[in-house]
Amino acid sequence: MPPSLDELPKGYQFPPFAFELSPEWVREYVTAVEDEAIGVLEGSLVPPMAVATLAVRSLLEGARLPPGAIHLGQDMSMLKPVGAGERLTVSAQVASRGERQGWVLMGIELNVADDNHAPVMSGRAMLTMPANAEGGS
């Protein structure tokens, strides 16, 4: 079983994960978020938050998200448009970690690149979660 996110130390490097933005999944995502703007653009471009969402989903293959985790903030740079069907790789590390009153405060930096190693997206998520949370989600 992968470790719980709250247990990871500062500097922890997540194993890189490759994922594919399958047209089916992109359609499911666009429907879920009701994005009416992306379809106006030419080509089968993917909303940038879809890339971020699938990147985080891939990372969670390697660390369990504790129940009750809360997203506090998000910095993100979009570097290259991507289309449905593209294969991407996300790498990430725990950039900061602190504990206060039973809660872990964590910053996770992530970088997404395409098959040619061209950067697609970079970002940093600030999360808080109960320390020593049981189970996972």
Binding site: Y29, A32, V33, A37, V40, L41, P47, H71, L72, P81
Partner: protein, 141 residues
């Protein structure tokens, strides 16, 4: 066309329902019970389920895509903080205003507010100023 300082971006308005939260959880593979399990969420500081932060950011990103087109996808930057949770039953309005033009980029203040006028998300987003922005289009779902 380009957006000048003081221009408002066309807002994006979305209704939050538990069904939509569940649909996003399914797509995003985020089964955190804070979002999907009313019994679990009732015991937390929030007293009930809340929407995923990334779902709310998808609405902000839709607003930026509508305003700036592919420039947002190829060079957009976003820096936001979550101020309050979005709950089922909320109407979330994403809004933005051009603050300044800086280093060839259009810098906007962006936020999401609930129907109670509570700020849910606040921060800045900026985009390369290529003159290719699509301009105002209002989206309401």
């Amino acid at each position: 066309m380009t957006l000048d300082v003081g221009a408002d971006l066309a807002p994006v308005v979305k209704e939050i329902t538990q069904e939509k939260i569940n649909r996003y959880a399914q797509a995003g593979g985020d089964g955190n019970p804070l979002h999907t399990d009313p019994q679990f969420a009732a015991k937390t500081m929030f007293g009930g389920t809340i929407a995923h932060g990334m779902l709310i950011l998808a609405y902000l990103s839709e607003m930026m895509t509508a305003a700036f087109g592919e420039d947002w996808l190829s060079g957009g930057r976003l820096k936001v903080r979550f101020k309050a949770p979005s709950r089922p039953g909320d109407t979330v309005t994403s809004a933005g205003r051009v603050l300044r033009i800086e280093d060839g980029r259009t810098v906007c203040a962006v936020e999401c507010r609930s129907q109670r006028d509570e700020v849910l998300v606040a921060g800045e987003a900026d985009c390369p100023r290529t003159g290719a922005c699509l301009g105002p289009t209002e989206v309401t779902v």
